[in-house]
Each structure stands twice: as C-alpha cells, then as structure tokens.
Symmetry: C2
Subunit: 212 residues, 2 copies
Amino acid sequence: MTDSKTTDSKTTDSKAPGGKRARLVAAACQAVYQQGIEKTTLADIAAAAGIPVGNVYYYFKTKNDIIQAVVEAHLREADALLAAIESDHDSPRDRLKALFAALAGQVDLIARYGCPHGTLCLELDKRADAPDLAARLMREPVDWAQRQFAALGCPDADALAIEVIARYQGAALLSSTFRDPALMTREATRVATWLDTLPTGPPQSSAHRHAH
Amino acid sequence: MTDSKTTDSKTTDSKAPGGKRARLVAAACQAVYQQGIEKTTLADIAAAAGIPVGNVYYYFKTKNDIIQAVVEAHLREADALLAAIESDHDSPRDRLKALFAALAGQVDLIARYGCPHGTLCLELDKRADAPDLAARLMREPVDWAQRQFAALGCPDADALAIEVIARYQGAALLSSTFRDPALMTREATRVATWLDTLPTGPPQSSAHRHAH
C-alpha cells in the first residue's frame, strides 16, 4: 500500500492533499459512491475535480487505474479508522462496538447510497477483471474483527468476524433499499447488545494487535 | 403485479413461457445478474434471447421498462419460493431455516455474482429513478420473515426479520467478494443454530399467514 502521508518535493503536487492526483481520486471516490463504477466516466471525474480531462491521462491511463486508486484510498481510510478505534478503546468488545457505531454514524449517506465499501465490492464482484481489489477491501475489517473476537477469547472468532461484518453490510443494503436511516441505527444498537452478551473466555492464541 | 400464469389466446406468444416476451425477460434477468444493469444493453438482451433487436421495442420501449419486468419476474419467483416453503413446512422456525437454506443452495452462483435480489437492489439504490422497485423486492422476504417470527411468539419480530435478511444479504456479499461458497454454507448452519436457540413465546397478535 502506498503511503499517502509522505509528501516530498517531487510528489507534492500529485500526492499531497489538494494536489491534482489527490483531487482526482477524491472526485472519483465520490462519483463512484454516488453513481456506481459503470456510470462514472473519466470526464465526470475531471469535471468534479476541476481539472481538464486531457490532464487526467497524465495520472490515470484507464478507468481501471482510477478504480485501483479509489480502492487504495478506501483502504487507507479504513486503516486510519481502525487505528483510531484501537487507540481510543482498550477493550476488544468496545472496539467492535465502536466500529459498528462509526459505520452507522453515516446513516444518512448509507440510507441514500449504501456502504461505500460494500457497494464498491459488489460492483467489482460482477467484473471479471478485479476480484482481488474487492477482496482486499473487505478482508481488512474482517481480519480486524477476527483479532478482536480472538482477544475476547471467542473460540469461533473467524465465524463471528464474518457474522458481524455481514450484519453491518446487510443492514447497510436494507437501509439504502428502504431509504431508512433508522434501520441502521437500530441494528447498531442490537449488535452492541449482542456483543455485550457474547460468551467469552481466555484470549485465543491467534490474537494479535493490529500492526502499524 | 401482473399475473404471469394467465395465458389467454391474445397473450400466448408474448407472456407464455417460451414466448418472446418471456424469453426477453429471462435473458434480461440473466444479463443483469451477471454483468449489472449499467453494462447490460437492449442489444445484449435481444442477442441472448435470439430475437432481432428491432423487435425488442415492441415489448420494451426503454431500459427502465425491462428493469421493471426483471424486478417483477424476481418478485414472482420469490412469491413462489415462499409459498413452496410454507406448504412444505408447518413450523415457522423450519420455514425460516428453509428460506436461508434455499438461498444458500445457490452458493456457487452467489460466490460468483452475489445474491440476484441483493445486487439488483444495490444497483437500483444508486439510481434516482426507481427506488420503489428495489424496496418492493426486499420488502417481500422481510415481511414474510416478520410473520414467521411473530408466529413464533417473538416480541421483536420486526427487528429479527431485518436481522435474518441482513445476515443473508451480508453473507452473500462477503461470499461473492471472497469468491468463497463455503462462507455462505457456514453462515446458513450458524443461522439455523441461532434460530433453534431463539427464545420464543405465545404467537404475537400481528402474526398472519402469507396470503395467496
């Protein structure tokens, strides 16, 4: 994964926040989230970023290049969110609740456009050309949740990680389908209750901290 | 909703199974499932149905007309599946397990293309023109599940219905993202265990059978 925080003199314009490349990637993230990959054109992205379409090709040759950059931007954001949750909460249970709450914190956007990661994965899943990109994006929160359940001493940490991320993704889909932000909020409360009553034990050997 | 089972003399060619309209709708269902709405053209659908593209306009003026027909075909299938489950199983618990098992019975397709209903809803959700279609498609299994939980005497039947359908939809998304059919099978087993241990009570007053 590239480190977007490094901004040496050579890459200042293209990689720094506000640089042309960063503006294009931000515009692409928003366009893909709101209208999907297929409908989004390089011209849309250029217009939203305020950059002549001819210049886009300097940064991205194909639409696939830009999709890759969008996925990498999402991965960096996910990484930053998970790191912030780890530093804010010591208990794995609190961390898992905080993850669901953070995602449910965007209920209005989710009720309109779905989960940014889930909807992107779903579009990528239909394409034959980029299954790895989608898998990387979804693997990140699943593996993180697995480590929290293992630290809680749950022997079925793998299955619980799939369950909690599946519940979140499913709730996001239903919330956007029914245009109902409250559905997502109710599910976050129910997941918190479920986590509070989950039987736990001594930490499992596979437990390890998220490395940064 | 139109009644596809009626085949009077005037509509035999256009509505009967094997008729041109039915072939176009079946081709559209498959194309939309495998490549998504945006990528599917009327020309693709005509070619898959073996019908000259010029004739397609006799049945469907716009892509939206065909999307509407695809959703209606899915609704009829869902209706038939739920009716079959009701006649095969008397216990609401067994019915809920049978629904998840029926969906998980298509694990290989789901691991490649996702849930046909979920992925269609997700694409429709991004469009501004057809939110009602997606909501109708997802309302059907949610309402059916709600009636089963109410018949089981669960006081929170509404929330449980959202939970079980969200778990299925989320598992389908993860299964296709990771290209992992076994993930879906494991989730079906875990949902069955969860249903078996769910505390129940006397049937709730809102319980009523699915009407046909």
